[in-house]
Symmetry: C2
Subunit: 414 residues, 2 copies
């Protein structure tokens, strides 16, 4: 009999968990330093929280279920924004604006697992509610960039590709795309990079779209739009202009963005998008709240980890595991009697203390074990206990001192 | 239209989230200081991971589901131990022993929500694998106690009630309970405290159990068992004897404990159990791994929070929210131009920096805002910019200094 983790999910053993915690910690530090407060919502929501925005089409991408004997439809959270909008809407008029929230929960997609895409993953969500101004979009983008910089990435490694829904729509319209064809035109634009020019032309023909309109779109589109020029200035002020580029192939999902949209990619185009976000000024309203302008993004751990590994910025995680301040070993009967109380004293004083569980009294072997777990100090409970003394060895310098047992804490916490 | 969180789940706004993080942080510190490494498993597992141990009866207590179009049964994790055992089993003979793991994931129960019991909750799991010795049980219990002490609880607030599966079974048998009645006798023993003596007598009669046998059990049971007397000595060595008591009404679930079992309760009996655990030497084997002795416990956040609140040890969470090191305000046009770059500089240097989003230039009002968010310093971008200077106000002392703009970081990070 052998049980395995469900397809597309992960068992995180200590090194992998330490790696995830390192990423989460970069996310959390960037959020807190930027004045965002952490929130969390349920891991599953009512199914209609997701269909109201995205339509019934989304159901096949969700893990949905009922309680045994119950008749309410639930779904595992595929993204955080509907929960955020619901929570903001629940506060109603009492929501003090601006509100700056972040969250780092697990998300779930019932898709086929593939490189960069799992069925369960962690995603960092950052949202700034209440400010309808490119300075807010820039602040949100800067928060994402700060986290990536904290992880060791530079503007040579990644790029923030920025577009604007309104600019793209008005330019497509100007180029002759009729309103009934706009959704499919945006969808194809979004996917254009992943196709060859020939396949793209085929797709256009298939949907009765004018290839010439897209050439006109490409040649005439520009950032001459009040919000984009304002954003460009803000990005410079935030010191992240060289991380950013304008790229009107970026569309994002159709369901809720209303203005600026962006994706963060590995600069050479390796891997999927590291993050995606933008402005969604109608969303809180859509979930029953007041009209609240909002901008935000989501950044998953899976693609980010791949990019960090590609760049040599993530080890195997062993190097991130906590190492003990003190390793306690016993080399005699009296030591055996005292080992538990010695460790208890250390731990109660906030010290990371481990012991050898071996029964050997060979101090050499015990010190080898202490070195292996990378202890800072080793406390040796040996024959010196006859004089109520212990030996403390500094594992880096090799220096060994004998001192009264009740002086242990003084020596270890200088 | 109004959406709500699913019944029995929580929306954690910033104060509630900060409260949860405080509890998690006490759990994590106690774990790391005791040499446990963090792991995580999938939020959902194959359904049969739970039925193999607990039987089909558990299915109604689970949220179970299939992927749309898929035929594999999954269930949201109701407890962590099966995942832990599966992960240990997957390592097989390469699992280095002892292995000390902890986890702090979300768990799910499809039960009726009530005080102390939700459908989604966080649970701290601590497991020490590879040592079949009461010293390991004591270490595990001490780790739980250290976390509770970190949260401000004392042995006057809570008690660890310890029993031993083998002792209870042998004493029930000695008192005349036949093997076919043992399971129901243990179940009733477990529930006895929650019933009046009259109801308990009724239940015994209903199951054809001899009331006299239970009187004999009560009067004759004692800790005169090698493991319990050894444990008692260890608990003293760990300095937690006064937190602990032996109580043979503690049974725990029937499915997998093999020796010492324990529960942690509010001392006066308020609320449900704060934690429960014990020794389960067969579990890793049950999930296809080698025979590995193990001891551990689970502690949920819901009952613990109630107890901490009852004792006045948890505020409303507002006091736990991060406050900014620096609040930046602008009082002139040039300040408006510089506010983004000033904040970007601070944040890139690891400083928690916020800004006023207000358009007022009334410095008094802006300083009131800075005081309201409890900033340590306020940076004022005002007329002094003409001399390339800024004003920094220490919000605690009230002291205000004017200095060159490029000296800001030096002044703020002493």
């Amino acid at each position: 009999m052998g049980f395995q983790a469900p397809k597309g999910t992960r068992d995180l053993f200590p090194p992998e968990m330490a790696t995830l915690r390192r990423i989460e910690s970069a996310w959390r530090n960037a959020s807190v330093n930027a004045g965002f407060d952490e929130i969390e919502g349920p891991t599953f929501e009512h199914l209609d929280l997701y269909t109201v925005k995205s339509g019934e089409g989304i159901v096949s991408e969700l893990f949905s279920f009922k309680r045994a004997g119950g008749d309410v439809d639930y779904a595992l959270r595929p993204e955080f924004t509907p929960t955020l909008a619901r929570m903001a809407a629940a506060k109603g008029r009492s929501l003090s604006l601006p509100t700056k929230w972040f969250a780092i929960p697990s998300h779930f997609r019932a898709e086929r697992p593939q490189r960069g895409r799992l069925r369960e993953f962690k995603q960092w969500n950052v949202d700034l509610l209440g400010i309808d101004n490119p300075s807010a979009d820039a602040e949100v983008i800067a928060t994402a960039v700060h986290a990536l910089a904290n992880l060791g990435l530079t503007h040579e490694d990644v790029v923030v590709r920025i577009s604007h829904r309104e600019v793209v729509v008005s330019m497509l319209t100007k180029a002759g795309i009729t309103p009934d064809k706009l959704d499919i035109a945006l969808t194809l634009l979004d996917k254009r990079e992943k196709m060859s020019p020939a396949v793209f032309a085929e797709k256009l023909a298939e949907h009765d779209l004018d290839a010439h309109a897209f050439s006109q779109f490409d040649s005439e589109i520009s950032i001459e739009h009040a919000e984009l020029t304002a954003l460009q200035k803000e990005l410079k002020a935030w010191g992240i202009a060289e991380w950013c580029t304008f790229d009107f192939n970026i569309v994002r999902g159709l369901a809720y963005y209303t203005g600026i949209v962006f994706e963060i990619h590995e600069r050479s185009g390796a891997e999927r998008a590291i993050a995606g976000g933008g402005r969604y000024n109608k969303l809180v309203e859509m979930f029953g709240g007041p009209e609240v302008p909002a901008a935000g993004f989501g950044m998953g751990d899976v693609v980010l980890s791949l990019v960090l590994k590609d760049k040599g910025l993530l080890g195997d995680g062993e190097e991130l595991l906590p190492t003990p301040d003190v390793f306690v070993v016993s080399a005699c009967d009296e030591g055996d009697e005292l080992i538990a109380s010695t460790i208890a004293t250390l731990r109660s004083n906030g010290i990371h203390a481990r012991r050898s569980y071996k029964t050997t009294r060979n101090v050499g072997k015990l010190l080898t074990e202490a070195a292996k777990v990378k202890a800072t100090f080793t406390v040796i409970l040996g024959q010196e206990l006859e004089r109520d003394c212990i030996v403390i060895k500094n594992m880096e310098s090799g220096e060994q001192v004998e001192l009264q047992r009740d002086q242990m804490l003084v020596h270890i916490t200088p």
